[in-house]
């Protein structure tokens, strides 16, 4: 019985890795897309960050605005990329790709995990880009190997979280266009109701309340602590909240993915 369940577990992880491998190979074939995706966070930092850095009093005294939003922009670009996985899912449904995948012995949860791992690959690339831009612009963030590794870990968690969230809602949208619309409808509130580009301290009360249930806030908190402030005390809480959301979204996405082709 136990040996059997170990084999089952290996198969379930193996299938997830295979799905992730397929996605990774697709990324490799279209690597120019990775660079195009890097333009957006670069612009946010260069234009938005530079412009607002002239305004005093947004962020705590001891940090520049650019320092402050680097973690936020990283989280935001991870969100924007990961949210696209639901659209891809609907697209694959419209073709026969998803039917064929679902007719294979790969467990549904492996398909969800595999795709969210692929989102993580893209997320890690974004993080690397942001590190690069910070170096070029001379934004002072913590680049110790352990901190960089920590950032990558949080980015993986965030990518998985938002890609599974997006896959979870994919079965609600019957068409690709509607799924795109739905993605935007949830992306922007998530972004603005978080501390990505301004601290919670300057938010109106209602927005601060919303931001406390927003997974992006916890991601930004963890990233900002690792990249900038070095106040690690809240990181376990942030990670735990994200992990909780991730578990929920994985479960929902696993249900969603089997319903989407019906």
């Amino acid at each position: 019985m136990r040996a059997n369940s170990i084999i089952e577990n290996a198969a379930f992880l193996g299938a997830a890795v295979t799905i992730a491998e397929a996605e990774a190979r697709k990324i490799l074939h279209a690597s120019s897309e990775l660079w195009i995706r890097a333009i957006q966070p670069a612009l946010w930092l260069l234009v938005f960050g530079e412009a607002l850095s002239k305004v005093r009093g947004i962020v705590p005294q001891n940090f520049t605005y650019l320092q402050f939003i680097s973690a936020g922009i990283l989280a935001q670009s991870v969100l924007f990329i990961a949210i696209f996985y639901g659209v891809t899912l609907v697209w694959e449904r419209d073709l026969g790709l998803l039917s064929r995948l679902l007719a294979s012995p790969a467990p549904r949860i492996s398909i969800v995990l595999g795709k969210s791992l692929a989102a993580s690959i893209r997320g890690i690339f974004q993080a690397t880009i942001i590190f690069g831009i910070s170096l070029i612009l001379g934004i002072n963030i913590n680049l110790d190997p352990l901190n960089v590794a920590g950032v990558y870990c949080v980015v993986v968690l965030l990518s998985m979280c938002f890609s599974t969230m997006s896959m979870a809602i994919a079965s609600l949208a019957k068409t690709r266009e509607r799924m795109m619309g739905l993605s935007q409808v949830i992306t922007f509130p998530l972004f603005f109701a978080s501390n990505a580009i301004y601290p919670s301290a300057i938010m109106p009360e209602w927005l601060r309340l919303v931001s406390t249930v927003n997974p992006l806030t916890y991601g930004v908190n963890a990233l900002r602590a690792i990249m900038l402030t070095g106040r690690y005390a809240m990181i376990p809480t942030d990670i735990a909240v994200l992990a909780l959301y991730l578990t929920l979204f994985i479960a929902l996405a696993t249900i969603s993915i089997s319903r989407i082709i019906r």
Binding site: A11, A15, H29, D94, R100, L102, A103, P105, R262
Partner: protein, 368 residues
């Protein structure tokens, strides 16, 4: 090109080894109602034998794809039961999925991967390990003539190449039962034959069972041991293509004869007497269904064959020549599967159209 020269009869030989005693797919009162009230499949009872190539025919919207998807565990039936390879897809989904292969009606290869990668990922998902994996992939690439394009992105393939890759992809796991939803859509005649040959070969070597849907009567006729015609979610008729064609009407041969002695001594008729009833040799499996006689035209006979074979025409001519008749003209007409399809699907459709609920596309729009 060599494939085109292969005599049609090669399949007749390969047909021999289907022993009809073991059902691998069973459907009992299988019904699917899409919400709110589209009855796509309506209490279907059907069994597929092991090693059989079974064809599901029917106009657009008949419920073919829905049936296939239920057998594949992709959609749950509304009611009724299914057994696939001895298992119930409802509670043994993974086990069922391991033994079935699927070629969907829609494009199912990943355009952003190469042909090789598509096969690789499929093989991995079904747990095929190296070195077996590599050898299967390279063999399939060769068999489907995709070797030279194997490392190119699939979105640059032609439609036919994609379809071939899809079929190769379904075969890489060597399924016990292969479900194919209109497998040869968009293939040219040569490619179609390649695919048919592949399927027959796999059936030969692995005893694979094939369940396919098709709109191609030639394909159904050539490939399938048995076909079912479906309309409005119901099976209208099941049978061997040959028998179904016969049921519509066997091959009919019309001959015009003149007794040899007619021209010479009219009193010495050695041919068949005009009033004499013609008794054909029993090994021809044929009977006279009509005969007429006129002074100017000679004698005209129509003969229906129960069992048509390539030597039927020479035999019948030899027979009459042997009786002292001169055969002036011969004409043979065979009903095709199209006639079978039109008879069963067409008829039912007219009935369906009378019903106000029939919200499906017409047969004509499919036939264009």
């Amino acid at each position: 090109m060599a494939l085109l020269d292969t005599p049609l009869s090669f399949r007749a030989v390969e047909r021999g080894n289907v022993v009809r005693n073991n059902l691998v797919v069973e459907m009992h009162a299988l019904t699917k109602i899409y919400p709110p009230s589209t009855k796509a499949v309506d209490s279907l009872d059907l069994g597929i034998y092991e090693g059989e190539i079974f064809g599901l025919l029917g106009p657009n919207g008949a419920g073919k794809s829905t049936t296939i998807k239920m057998l594949l565990t992709l959609i749950p039936p509304t009611s009724g039961s299914i057994i696939v390879n001895g298992m119930d897809p409802r509670n043994q989904q993974t086990q069922v999925r391991r033994v079935v292969g699927y070629v969907p009606q829609e494009v199912s290869v990943d355009g952003d991967l190469t042909g090789f990668e598509n096969l690789l990922i499929s093989a991995k998902l079904y747990g095929v390990k190296d070195p077996e994996r590599s050898s299967r992939i390279s063999l399939l690439l060769k068999q489907f003539n995709l070797e030279s394009r194997a490392n190119e992105l699939v979105k640059r393939y032609s439609g036919g190449m994609m379809r071939k890759l899809e079929i190769a992809q379904a075969l890489v796991s060597q399924p016990r039962i292969l479900f194919m939803d209109e497998p040869t859509i968009g293939l040219d005649p040569v490619a179609k034959r390649e695919v048919w040959r592949q399927i027959l070969e796999l059936r030969m070597t692995m005893g694979m069972t094939v369940f396919l849907s098709t709109h191609d009567m030639g394909e159904a006729d050539f490939l399938c041991d048995r076909i079912a015609i479906m309309n409005a979610g119901r099976i209208v008729i099941v049978g061997e293509p040959g028998k179904l064609k016969q049921a519509v009407g066997g091959t009919v041969v019309r001959l015009r004869l003149r007794s040899r002695t007619d021209a010479g001594d009219k009193s010495q008729v050695v041919g068949l007497k005009v009033q004499q009833s013609i008794r054909l040799p029993s090994d021809l499996n044929a009977k006279v269904i009509n005969e007429s006689h006129s002074e100017s035209e000679g004698r005209e006979i129509s003969i229906a064959f129960d069992k048509w074979s390539d030597d039927a025409l020479p035999s019948i001519i030899r027979y009459f020549e042997g009786c002292g008749e001169e055969v002036l003209a011969v004409n043979a007409s065979t009903p095709g599967l199209d006639d079978v399809f039109l008879k069963y699907a067409g008829l039912r459709l007219e009935e369906a159209e009378k019903r106000p609920t029939a919200g499906r596309r017409s047969f004509r729009s499919h036939a264009r």
